[in-house]
Each structure stands twice: as C-alpha cells, then as structure tokens.
Symmetry: C2
Subunit: 344 residues, 2 copies
DNA sequence: GTGAAAGCGCTAACAC
DNA sequence: GTGTTAGCGCTTTCAC
C-alpha cells in the first residue's frame, strides 16, 4: 500500500511512529534520516517508505536539543523599509537557506537600545550567529557584541574595531571616485548631502573620500556646501532646499543615497534648475529608481546581494568554528555614470 | 557577591546550574522563570540573583520540545526587494515580536514550486503558522495550504477560497475609485498598465474595478488601452512605450503600481508628453517615491504596516486556537490625489 | 546491520 | 513552598 497513514489523534508523527510502521527501531530510522551509520539497502527503503507515508519530518526542537546545534541565523536590521536593505536581505536568506539555516528577522527601528536588546533576544532564541545591519554603529555596540556569546557580523558597514567582522564596500574610495568624476567634468563647487551625524561610519567614510578628492584637486573644503539628510526622499528634498535657500553657488550635487538624490532632484526642479545643465546630480547605491529618474542618475553601485551573501556566509563560518580567511571583507563598488552628470 | 559567575568550561548555563547556585531545585527555578506556581519571595530573589550572575537564558529548543510550542512564525515572500513588502514585513515583525514570536524569513523568488516547498520547510523548522506574501495565488496553492498542517495567512491579497485566511485592501473598490477620479476629470481614454497575467488576484480585481467604473460612465472597454508590466520601474516604462508606439490616444494612464507609474512617467517624458497636461498619471501603493516624483503621483494608499500587523495577528491567533472573528480581513485603502492628475 | 538505553534542558504532575 | 520524577523527540554510544 502506498497510501498515506494518518495517526489516530492528530499529533505529528514521531520517529517512533516511523519505526513502528517500518518494523525497525528508532535508531535505524535515525540512521536513515541522517545517512550516518550502515543500513541495509532493503531496510533503508522500508524506512523511507514509512517516512513518506506518514509525511514525517523530524522535530526541529528535539534535534536541536540533542545536537546542541540550532541552525538559526539572527538578522537585526535598523530599517526594514529601505529598498537598499531588501536586496541585502535577499542575499542573506539565499545563503542561509543554502547552508541549512533559518533566518530570524528582527527590526531595531534604528534605536540603539533596541538593537542591543535584540542581540540578546536572538541569542536567547537559539541563534548561532547574527548579522547586524545598522546605519549607526557606535562604541556602545562593541561591548555588547563581545559579550553576546555568538559571532555577530556587521553587514554593509566597516568599523575600525579589529574584532568586529564587517562586510561592505570601501565607502571612502567610492565617494572619492564619484567626486573625481564630477571634478573631471569641471565642477568646482560641489554640494554634498550626507547622512545623519550619529552615523560615524557610512557618512564619515564617504565624507573622507570627498575631502580627499577635493584636496587632490587643490580645492578647499567648504562646510557651507554640506547639508544633512536622513537617507529618505523627503530628507534629500529638504536638504537641497536648505542648500538652495542658503544661496550657495553649486554646479553639482552629491547625495549619499539615491533616495536623497531623488528628493534633491525634485527640489532643484522646483527651483527652476535643470539637471544636468544647471546642476549635475549624483547619488549612491544604484537602486532601481536611479535608472528610472529623468534624467537617469549617476551613482555608485553596491553589490547588495553579494553583501548579504558574504555576510551570512561569514557569520555561519564563524558560528561553526570554520577557519575564515579574514573577518573584514570589502566588496567591490562601481561608478555608474548616467545622464544626470552628463557634460554640458 | 554580585559578580558574574563563569562555568568552568564554556557551555551555556542550564537550569540546574542556576538551581545549584541558588541552592534550590530546578523546578523552583522553573517556577520563578515562568511565574507559575507559588514561590516564597526570598527564594525568588535568590533565584533571580543566580540567573543574573550566570547570565542564564532558558534553552529555547528544550523549552519548545517540552511545551510542544515553538514560537516561530514563517514568512514566505515572493519578492523581498519590492519596497511595498518592506513596510508589510515591518508590521509583521512588530506584531510577532510583541506576541513573543520570532519571524522565520524565506524567499520564494516568485516561483510557485519554491513557494510550496518553503511552506513545508518552515513547518519542518517548527513554525506554528505562516504568512504567504505572493503576487500570484493559484489553485495549486490551496491543496498545499490545506495539508500543510498549520494555519497559513495570505497577506496582501484576497482569494475566493473560503478556507484561506486573507488580509488586504479591496483592490476592485480601490481601482474603481481611482478610475472614478480620472473620469471625473473628464478623461475618456484611459490607458492601463496591469500586472502579469499569471496573477489572477491583484491584477484581476483591479481590472474588475476599472471595468466597472468605465461601465458606470457608459464607456466601452477597450483592450487596446491595456498593457502588461511586471510591477517594476522598467516594466512600467516598457509597457508605456508599447502603448505609445501603438498610437493609442489616451489622456490618462493608470499603472497598477507606483513603480510602474514611475517608469511610465519616464516614457511619457521621453515621448515629449507633459504630465499632467498631456497625460494624467496615477499609480498604486503610495510608496515614498510617489510623493518624490515630479509631479507628485496620484495613487492608492495601502496601509502596508497594518496589513503586516493584522496578518501576523491573525496567523498567531489561528495557531494558538484562539477564536477569530473572521479569516477574511479587508483593510481600508485611500485615494491620494496629487499633481500628476491635476485638472488642466 | 540493528536495537536498547541514556540523556540533551526543560516543565508539570505529584509527593511531601 | 519546594523537591523528585518522568518524559517531550531525537541522536548516539555500546552491545549484540
């Protein structure tokens, strides 16, 4: 008979049910299940048949308890709604799944406190390792990371602390390259919309790259050309408006995210300025919307999926005690030149 | 002494370690932990002290095994990278966390097969219930949902099957309302960019709403005015280009997602058409980018976070066997009129 | 090649 | 109030 077997009550079948149906002992079923010890071919088939008929699946908690394993990867993210993170998430899930891990998702809503709490929480829930995707790494993190008792990989940012595994692009180099591009087009007054000050990492590195590029061109650093945004469209629009209201004479504008660039574009348009004729515009991230803007946006592409995949792989390697080559991984960025910075 | 205690080896502390340190039995510790039975106040304090000093946290697998509970909610999503889903996700995580559930994330990459596999997978991993966020519900789903042995809530779509719990807006009514708005502005030839044909739900319902509105205005249904997109910016641009290439004379264009509307805007611009003067444009979802476009986009707002929260709550209620009022929940949409459909 | 038995860390009867 | 005990479902020695 090939029919499915239903248990009297509707509890889920256990390994003993399978054993009974197959006419063997639980240990034999376990061997078949895990492909471990020796099992006679005919026995194996009987067992497999029983498994199918009962639609049996091992109880994960029992397994984890016995093996002290827990194939769960924590993912703490500061803002689930940034499109940028969606791609990263996808990469994380892809790798985790491929390596037999589930992904436990948590949202810190950008609050430091919550982030630290969640680190504890995911550990309590049995995660072997975690990824932290935050836009604002602070010294306070270090302590918690260290005592959290599990590897934590910082995805999409690099911090100096040599103990903290990080995966991300070289933000300084990327910003440098973009500024070089603008300078090469003859721009001398370049406005900058950076991220929030409480994020010493991303914005800090990118600013450093900008400074270096200007310096290399023998140009002064002018704080009046810098405004702060919160990486959102609205934030970008408002920052650009402040810049314009201030009356600074800029011929180019570099926003630290595509979304802020989009907002800035709106502000420029409303001010009667044409892009790129009056003001060249550039963003960062290469989201789908960068190409969808009119004009299409020059930007820095980050390998978002790659960041997710590498981070997850690194975290799992660390969790399993495998040897890892390096805990700081820099993934390649790429300057994408589009019409928004076309030469006049 | 208030100092932390380290175990000789570095295994994590168990309830017995706590018991030993506190000078009580494991069951007493358990009582303190769960606030169940009666415990003398002084004993409780001793135990709590021991818990702190050992930095003890109950082993989740052991707990789950014993309680047969497993506080995990599966979340299977067809496209992690759609900004729309980010907000939904956020709502799901919020509610799940508040109710003591972890969220196990899986990505079906829009593939039906994978979706069905993952439903099995999350169950195997011990999820008590799951959410399915798919843009293409098909009859094949029904069977799997039924035999999956756990409640599965369809988030952000409504299907006819009376057994399938669903949460989402009334797509037909929303599309109807938007069309009414366009008709009220005097538009008679309205282009439509719908979703893929293999999604009988979302696109089907919205089309129905469109039909009804035209019918109500005594206008004929013209298939030549309809094009298909894949909900992406590029998809919208290409669909609009096909519409234009075909030479249909439309004065308004309704895309079934804001992203497609963004793409369409680009196509219209490139064709030398002004929005809204030559062609009025509307989208669906009210993503942040809708407001960031120039001109800002008229659209239908969906309560994305609410959809996530309600779906998660419903799934958990079902999982825990709580009485639920209804398994079909319609959340309110809202027409947001912006400049992209301003009267000439 | 296969089975019996022990035990992972926890909770819930049930004694006392 | 508190301790003792059994057992959740699984894997893994260790006999046979």
């Amino acid at each position: 008979m090939n029919a499915l077997i239903g248990l009297g009550d509707n509890r889920r079948p256990t390994i003993r049910d399978v054993a009974k149906v197959a006419g063997v002992s639980p240990s034999t079923v376990s061997r078949v299940l895990n492909g471990r010890g020796p099992v006679r071919e005919s026995t194996r088939r009987q067992v497999e048949e029983a498994i199918r008929r009962l639609r049996y699946a091992p109880h994960p908690a029992a397994r984890d308890l016995r093996l002290k394993s827990g194939h769960l990867l924590g993912l703490i993210i500061s803002n689930l709604t940034f499109p940028f993170f969606g791609e990263v998430l996808k990469g994380v899930v892809e790798t985790a799944t491929a390596r037999g891990y589930g992904v436990l998702l948590a949202d810190s809503e950008g609050r430091l406190r919550r982030e630290l709490e969640l680190l504890e929480e995911v550990r309590r829930r049995g995660c072997r390792a975690s990824l932290l995707i935050t836009s604002a790494y602070r010294p306070e993190h270090a302590l918690v990371l260290r005592r959290s008792g599990m590897p934590v990989v910082l995805a999409s940012a690099h911090v100096a602390d040599p103990e903290v595994p990080c995966v991300g692009v070289d933000n300084a180099a990327a910003a440098f390259e973009l500024m070089q591009h603008l300078l090469a087009q003859g721009h001398r007054r370049i406005g900058i919309i950076r991220g929030p000050l409480d994020d010493p990492v991303t914005s800090g590195e990118r600013l450093k790259g900008c400074r270096l590029a200007l310096q290399g061109a023998g140009l002064p650093w002018d704080e009046a050309l810098v405004e702060e945004g919160d990486f959102s469209i609205r934030g970008g629009r408002e920052a650009a408006e402040r810049l314009l209201a201030r009356g600074v004479a800029m011929t180019a504008l570099f926003a630290f995210s595509d979304e802020m660039a989009m907002g800035a574009l709106q502000a420029l348009r409303r001010a009667g300025l044409r892009v790129p004729e009056d003001v060249a515009l550039a963003g960062f991230d290469d989201l789908p919307l960068a190409e969808g803007l009119e004009p299409p946006l020059t930007t820095i592409a980050q390998p978002k999926g790659e960041i997710g995949r590498v981070s997850a792989g690194l975290a799992i390697d660390l969790a399993e005690g495998r040897p890892v080559q390096r805990i700081k991984v820099t993934v390649p960025h790429r300057l994408i030149v589009r019409r928004s910075t076309a030469a006049h």
